[in-house]
């Protein structure tokens, strides 16, 4: 069946993020003024409001910061997925990002806050892949 969930529309300052994701890599913007990576990508850093920024490749390691187990699909594209896990993960580099946890049996017992995760990429169109996380 065709993929019918909402699709991200890459913008100028996030093209690199989405291009790298399609290659199976997670890249972050990094503020060279303070040395901290940040999410989501934007040209001027939110920590220092500095233009002295670049891109770094993330390790793909993260821990589970919080989550919910969605029982009622919020959109027709998710009807076949429920129950599914929405989550905020803390990347090894520091920033937090929204994602899904890819897990066979999504129960509170199987989802411990602080558990180790690693990035996986789900191809959703010919151009786009979504970074998701699974138990490491």
């Amino acid at each position: 069946m065709a993929y019918n969930k909402p699709l991200p529309v890459p913008q100028g300052e996030s093209d690199v993020y989405w291009q790298k994701a399609k290659q199976g890599e997670l890249w972050l913007r990094n503020c060279k003024s303070c040395g901290n990576a940040y999410f989501y990508p934007r040209d001027i850093s939110p920590c220092c409001f500095s233009k002295d920024t670049d891109w770094i490749q993330a390790s793909g390691k993260a821990t589970l910061f919080t989550y919910g187990i969605v029982q009622r699909a919020p959109h027709p594209g998710f009807v076949d997925d429920v129950p599914f896990v929405t989550a905020v993960v803390e990347l090894e580099e520091g920033p937090k990002m929204a994602t899904n946890i890819v897990i066979e049996d999504p129960t509170p017992e199987n989802l411990q806050i602080g558990m180790a995760l690693e990035v996986v990429f789900e191809d959703i169109t010919d151009e786009l892949a979504l970074p998701k996380f699974k138990p490491a």
Binding site: K5, P6, L7, P8, V9, P10, Q11, S14, F39, Y40, F65, T66, Y67, G68, I69, V70, Q71, R72, P74, H75, F78, D81, P83, F84, T86, A87, V88, K96, M97, A98, T99, N100, P108, I113, I124, L130, K132
Partner: protein
């Protein structure tokens, strides 16, 4: 800072003609009906209005629809808290002399609307949250509640969420305008279906069709109004994120700043407050807000609301209308906090009327626990 206490007052409030399930009325119909009714409550007409405030639609759209040409216009839209924040903005505008009769309206056919607003594809949320199913408040707020459970204990958080749901329903049973008035037991709460774990259905606010409006004016004009003025003592507003994944602390809202600041500007303390109107989009929102406002410390809300303390007859009066959980919640509920606060302070609440309340604290929360507006209202 300039002392603005009692320089403006709310002199008219009301809902739209019907609220709850109202097929065939648009958002703007609810705006207009509520405006009509609130102006009547104030003893004023649309001709008196020269300041216009709303959220959810532009005042451009609204003023044309209402047929007015305001000299002060404000579409501050930061979620359901916007209508609390508009009180402060009207206070500033009236004190600056930019307008003297401000009309603030809300209307949302949350249940029956025939169109759904779409997000801007270029927004960060459209790229970095919605593809993962971060769609709608129940999903986003559930993740915040899960984090709170992790920090302070799952069982006691669960019990506190149940306490709030059950106590709020008891208030709704005393409000003729409330949408949900059936008895709710603790078992009903615990047995209600999952929406997004850890939220049961009965952790979530209603989705209704409703409008509301209030009229706020200068002290001078307020003294001539039809009913006794409900004075604005002080207010504060803030926001610290938009996307739930970027919230600095999922257990603390910016009410941690706006609560103490609004109280300080009002010259009162927590102990002086007779009624707390706390935006209850979800049961969890109340817990995080009570703590953030400083009514209790971090992690202490479960003890604070225990044993039906916020129910009718309890010693902490809160959400006496029945709240967003059981009275009405059209989408941006903040407006309705103001209506109840004013009616309680005027003594118009019938079976649910508190005993001569003098001070009410209102706290609106908007977005994904993103923004807050805190205001203190008073009567002489």
């Amino acid at each position: 800072m300039t002392d603005l206490r009692k320089t403006v007052a709310i002199v008219g409030v009301d809902e739209s003609d019907e609220i709850g399930k109202v097929p065939d009325k648009s958002n703007l119909t609810h705006h207009a009906e509520a405006a009509y009714n609130a102006l009547e409550d104030a003893g004023m007409s649309m001709k008196d209005v020269n300041g216009l405030f709303t959220a959810g639609t532009s005042t451009l759209n609204l003023a044309e629809y209402l047929g007015i040409e305001p000299s002060f216009t404000d579409t501050t839209a930061v979620g359901g808290s916007s209508f609390i924040i508009h009180i402060a903005h009207a206070m500033a505008a009236i004190n600056a002399g930019y307008c003297d009769v401000a009309l603030v309206t809300h209307g949302e056919a949350g249940r029956s609307r025939r169109s759904r607003p779409g997000g801007d594809a270029a927004d960060p949320g459209s790229q970095f949250e919605t593809p993962y199913g971060f769609l709608g408040a129940p999903i986003n707020y559930a993740m915040a509640a899960r984090r709170y459970m992790h920090e302070y204990g799952e069982d006691k958080t669960r019990q506190a969420m149940a306490e709030v749901a059950v106590a709020t329903r008891k208030w709704a049973q005393l409000n003729p305008k409330a949408y949900m008035k059936d008895d709710m037991s603790f078992d009903d709460y615990h047995n209600s279906r999952w929406i997004s774990w850890p939220f049961h259905l009965l952790d979530c606010c209603l989705v209704t069709d409703a409008g509301g409006a209030y009229v706020i004016t200068s002290a001078e004009r307020a003294r001539d109004a039809k009913k006794k003025p409900v004075w604005v003592l002080g207010a504060a507003e803030s926001h610290d994120h938009n996307l739930i994944s970027q919230m600095p602390d999922l257990t603390r809202t910016v009410a941690k700043n706006t609560g103490p600041l609004a109280l300080e500007r009002s010259g009162v303390t927590h102990d002086d407050i007779d009624l707390a109107m706390i935006y209850d989009s979800f049961t969890y929102t109340v817990l995080a807000t009570l703590e953030s406002l400083g009514f209790c410390g971090p992690g202490e809300a479960p003890d604070f609301v225990a044993n039906q303390r916020t129910a009718p007859g309890g010693d902490f009066a809160m959400n006496t209308s029945g709240g967003g959980l059981s009275y009405t919640h059209s989408g941006m509920y903040g407006m309705f906090l103001v209506l109840e606060a004013v009616r309680q302070l005027r003594g118009e609440c019938g079976d649910r009327q508190l005993d001569d309340p003098k001070l009410c604290l209102i706290n609106g929360t908007g977005g994904s626990l993103s923004s807050t507006g805190t205001t203190v209202l008073a009567v002489d």
